[in-house]
Symmetry: C2
Subunit: 203 residues, 2 copies
DNA sequence: CCTTTTCCGTACCGTTCGGTACTTAAGTCG
DNA sequence: CGACTTAAGTACCGAACGGTACGGAAAAGG
């Protein structure tokens, strides 16, 4: 299988998982190469050989995060009704933001919001990745409107944006140390604004 | 008892205003002393003489920001009804987050969410400053419950937290370049969750 | 065995970071 | 006018930053 040369002495995926945690806790700028490689348990040069550079490592880390730590989002989209999609997403999100075994908050929010040392490339990359989720939700809600699962006249894009705003606002609170129960109390209120098919209409 | 020695050659408040913009756009970590002093139009040593160090300058900048750029929050608290307080706050907030003559978003959010190079002192400081606003709102809403302006049984702290979550979520969206109209559309939906006294109210 | 290929560790690169002596300029006071 | 006091400017500090050159170590192929 043409594996010539000395084989790699570490598990790249495991190392990436450690990098995710460091970026998550400290943000892109705040995570130094020393912080990262120490947590990954590998040498500086090994990291460069395996991942390219800090920015590429971050991209890989975000991809891994989206795949592993945001799996609940895809599960939520598979719920049968729009309301169930939204409730499932916000509930699982509140839990994910406050897992005791992981950093508080959301990597794609606290990874970097401001433009920082780079010219905003990191912030823009994260914004795009958040927007992808918003679009997926909007698409699901569009279907819900077509199916009569949301009242006619409901703007699915606006509703998706609202759900993401609640999710990201909760992420800010979680990063500040808010308790899981507090996030769920917010979700309780936020769900009141979600229009339902047969009950009262919204805006 | 007048000024001895050479008088200061710049307006400290004006320089602070420039510093606010740099921190706002680039965050605490992303704003270097060079970025700051160039924007402020003063020398490095002048900045240290006038403000102490970078962290103290940031504290002063956040205080100035709270006083100048968040004046709308105090005005909102003075509205006669709880609903008017919340709507006024969220509307003015959406406008403030997207002022064309200022950086997008909110200094107290994008100033620093992650723990970064310091051990989270900046993030904690900003979280505390946001929490102060949340408490002020909770206090106002507590009064509203007592006055019957919100339904009995309404949890004013939870509602205040919800409002702040919407505000901070909108700040995240604004930092990512969301349009003002989009933020207001989110506010439209968010307001649906605000409980009203049993008779009809609102605009 | 020896060569080839790749990985790992050290030691270092140039740059930028926040912060500071030290000198010079610009005022007031006696 | 000095004498004193304070600001402004230059030039620099040690440390940390992201990134790399290089030599030795470990595996596969012949």
């Amino acid at each position: 299988m043409a594996v010539r040369g000395r084989p790699r002495g570490f598990d790249a995926e495991a190392a990436l998982d450690r990098a995710v945690e460091v970026f998550w806790r400290q943000g892109y700028e705040g995570a130094s190469l020393t912080d990262l490689t120490e947590a990954m348990g590998i040498n500086r040069t090994s990291m460069y050989a395996a991942f390219g550079n800090k920015e590429e490592l971050f991209h890989r880390a975000v991809a891994r995060y989206a795949e592993a730590d945001m799996a609940y989002a895809r599960e939520a989209l598979a719920q049968p009704t729009a309301y169930a999609v939204i409730e499932s997403f916000l509930r699982a999100n509140a839990d994910a933001l406050t897992r005791p075994d992981r950093p508080s908050g959301c990597l794609s929010v606290q990874g970097g919001l401001a433009e920082g040392g780079d010219s905003g490339r990191i912030a823009r990359f994260l914004a795009d990745s958040r927007l992808a989720g918003e679009h997926a939700l909007a698409q699901r809600l569009t279907r819900a409107v077509e199916e009569g699962d949301l009242p006619a006249g409901t703007d699915p894009h606006a509703l998706a944006r609202y759900v993401m705003v609640v999710s990201e606002g909760n992420a800010v609170h979680a990063a500040a140390g808010a308790a899981r129960t507090a996030l769920h109390a917010t979700v309780d209120i936020a769900l009141q604004a979600v229009p339902r098919p047969h009950a009262r209409t919204g805006a």
